[in-house]
């Protein structure tokens, strides 16, 4: 039985949701509409003139094989970032959940990286892996491995994935830990009494009960990997070597703010908007079915 509050008339509920609608309209619909409008023009950077090109910007982009390759790069990057940041966070959360003493201190320490801005995190990782003066690359050199992410595409991708995922682990850790602690002890204890070992308990009880958290984090992390990682990429690789780490959002930034090509940049934003909408719809339609609330 669901409890539902009902309003008489339409005006009061409308008034109550008005602030939310206004905020969405001003900060989402208006800029999104502007982006769609701008994507139909090639404007000059100073806004002195605009050339109507219709779908010309989209044609230009989609016929560029480097832009198409950037979709694949983005997919690989997002999947890796999401897997690494969620996997490590879940592992740490499970360990922290089992702690009895000093869990507060561990938790606090594990949350710290979240406070580091992506660009700063990028610089920190860059220093450690600097091909000539980096600490990590020096140790790798001692082991006989020649680290060179400025020319090796795989290494560059690995580095930006780790740097992007690192700060995110804390965030995911917090949610996983809260999710784990919300699972009733009695259920787990009952299973333990029935003779279920840790792994069985995790697979059959913890994981299904944790699925709402996992699903939420999956959506949030993919959006993070799509949109908020460009600071890291900008500081570490600037999209290189060649185009190995040029993800879609980085290209939006570099075409718009480095190249002053606002038409192409706007068209790319629209494409990105469509891609993320489709992804989110897929996630809610297919993956959410398997979530137990």
């Amino acid at each position: 039985m669901e409890k539902r509050v009902t309003f008489k008339g339409i005006w009061l509920p409308l008034l109550l949701v008005l602030p939310q609608i206004l905020i969405t309209a001003v900060f989402f619909f208006y800029p999104a509409g502007q982006a769609i409008w701008q994507s139909l023009f090639i404007p000059d950077p100073f806004g002195l003139s605009m050339q109507w090109v219709g779908l010309g910007n989209f044609e230009y982009l989609l016929s560029d094989r480097y832009y198409r390759a950037s979709f694949v790069t983005t997919a690989i990057f997002s999947i890796l970032v999401t897997l690494v940041s969620m996997g490590v966070a879940l592992y740490l959360a499970v360990l922290a959940d089992r702690l009895i003493k000093g869990s507060g201190a561990y938790r606090t320490l594990l949350i710290w990286p979240y406070a580091v801005a992506p660009a700063v995190a990028g610089v920190l990782w860059l220093f450690m892996f600097n091909t000539r003066v980096g600490v990590v690359s020096w140790y790798l050199g001692q082991l006989g491995y020649d680290w060179n992410h400025v020319l090796n595409e795989g290494e560059a991708m690995g580095l930006v994935v780790v740097a992007s995922a690192w700060g995110r682990i804390s965030y995911n850790f917090l949610f996983f830990l809260a999710g784990l602690q919300a699972i009733p002890r009695s259920v787990i204890e009952a299973a333990a009494i029935d003779g279920a070992r840790f792994w069985t308990r995790f697979r059959t009880i913890v994981w299904p009960l944790l699925s709402p958290t996992t699903f939420f984090l999956l959506v949030v992390n993919i959006i993070y990997a799509f949109f908020e990682t460009f600071g890291v990429i900008h500081t570490i690789t600037s999209g290189g070597p060649q185009q190995a780490t040029t993800i879609l959002v980085y290209k939006v930034y570099s075409d718009g703010f480095v190249g002053q090509d606002l038409g192409s940049s706007a068209a790319q934003s629209v494409i990105l908007l469509v891609v993320v909408s489709i992804l989110t719809i897929i996630q809610f339609k297919y993956i959410e079915r398997r979530v137990h609330y």
């Binding site: 806004g47 002195l48 000539r132 020319l151 600037s238 570099s254 703010f257 190249g259 090509d261 192409s264």
Partner: protein, 433 residues
């Protein structure tokens, strides 16, 4: 007692406010921090103290790209500064923005003597009919930095001739043989090894006089000379004789740490190298290929210039002219040149520096000036004027990385750079129409 103080304070505030309104404010947005930022502030203070009609207010707006973006955004909002610093690759963007900028020669008025500015410095910023559109502010040019100790350790005479790439090739062989881990590295690969390379060998980087004659220009950097050079560099990279450190000046850290023997970098690297290098270093002219040219043409500049924005009052433009006149004066220019390692923008400033004995006390600091001014610039060596050039450099960086990694040969990579760069040029042409 308390009252007297507050009255005095109020009077002081009023007094200073009056002084501020009496002088016309000139807004100047720049991209300099650290030591360079301090030197700019010093110039501005000296100017403000020298007269009472104008007050220049200098504001730092981030790095080059950010400063340009801030200027563009401000113009769109009608809040543009009087003077905006724009890096050299943004030149075509500014030139195309006809309603947004006021050419410097117009601001300076009738008595403006453009001939006192060094041709190869101002050339980058002049219109096809030779009028200065912006005022060069900080300009540098690439040179060859040599770690003399490293050469000596490897059993090579530190005074060995390295004027040509053929000779450098021989030195690199010897360095590699002696077990040097980094025989040569570079900064700004596109600027030095393609843009300057083309000017220095008097071959076109792009058609239409490198874009000076129109926006319908196409890249020509896949010519035989450039392909031969990049091919040789690629071979050196494969052999471990040329170590690639990154797209910007990452290689500088390796050179300053004494790891690399040779380093192609801007002449403005002087201050940093002098401060950090614990070895005997030397500046040499940029090498050229004897097989391509009997003697080198001039190199071109990098750096930034000052653009005057449209839409200000006549008094403000008079103030801008006074400030630019001040910046161009021999004393101020000579001091700037000596403090920063940037090139002087006027011939007089260079001569003054020589008279003051600076070049004798700091050998090699005049190499860049000589290299820039030895010959009258040709259509291929006046500079580059290409739209979306910051992005085109990004493309060139990508393609060169493919050569250094051994994924592509020089011809394929440069052909691809031309094809991709031309697509951007066509878009720029359309936007600027």
């Amino acid at each position: 007692m308390k009252h007297t103080i507050s009255i005095l304070a109020a009077a002081a505030v009023l007094g200073s406010a009056q002084a501020a309104t009496a002088a016309t404010e000139i807004e100047f947005w720049h991209a300099f921090t650290g030591r360079l930022g301090e030197l700019v502030a010093e110039q501005v203070e000296t100017f403000n103290a020298s007269q009472s009609d104008y007050t220049v207010v200098a504001t730092h707006k981030g790095n080059y790209s950010e400063t340009l973006n801030a200027g563009i955004a401000a113009f769109r909002a009608g809040e543009q500064p009087d003077i905006l610093m724009v890096f050299e690759v943004g030149t075509a963007t500014m030139m195309a923005a006809k309603g947004a900028i006021k050419p410097v020669y117009e601001v300076m008025g009738d008595g403006f003597d453009q001939s006192k500015y060094i041709g190869s410095v101002k050339g980058y910023y002049t219109s096809p009919d030779g009028n200065m559109l912006s005022l060069p502010f900080n300009s540098s040019t690439p040179v060859l930095w040599v770690n003399r100790d490293k050469l000596a350790e490897a059993g090579i005479d530190p005074d060995t001739d390295m004027s040509t790439w053929e000779q450098v090739g021989g030195v690199l062989d010897a360095l590699k043989e002696a077990g040097v881990s980094c025989p040569m590295t570079t900064a700004w690969q596109s600027w030095i090894h393609l843009e300057n390379f083309s000017a220095y060998h008097d071959v076109p980087f792009a058609t239409q006089s490198n874009g000076f004659d129109g926006t319908d220009t196409e890249l020509a950097l896949n010519g035989a000379a450039q392909v031969a050079h990049i091919s040789a560099m690629g071979q050196w990279a494969q052999d471990g004789k040329f170590i690639y450190a990154g797209r910007r000046n990452e290689g500088g850290a390796n050179f300053r740490a004494g790891e690399c023997a040779l380093f192609t970098e801007s002449s403005a690297g002087y201050a940093g190298i002098k401060a950090e290098a614990e070895f005997d270093f030397e500046v040499r002219p940029l090498p050229y290929w004897k097989a391509v040219a009997d003697e080198p043409q001039n190199t071109i500049i990098g750096g930034a210039s000052l653009w005057v924005m449209e839409g200000q009052s006549d008094e403000e433009y008079a103030g801008v002219a006074a400030f630019m006149d001040f910046l161009s004066s021999p004393e101020i220019q000579a001091k700037w040149h000596q403090d920063t390692g940037y090139l002087p923008i006027t011939t007089e400033a260079g001569e003054l520096t020589r008279e003051q004995g600076f070049y004798d006390a700091n050998p090699g600091t005049d190499i860049a000036v000589i290299q820039m001014t030895a010959k009258e610039p040709t259509a291929n060596s006046k500079g580059l004027r290409l739209g979306s050039f910051d992005q085109i450099r990004g493309i060139i960086d990508e393609e060169l990385e493919a050569v250094w990694a051994g994924d592509k040969d020089a011809q394929t990579a440069l052909d691809s750079a031309v094809e991709r760069g031309n697509a951007l040029l066509r878009r720029f042409e359309q936007a600027a129409r």
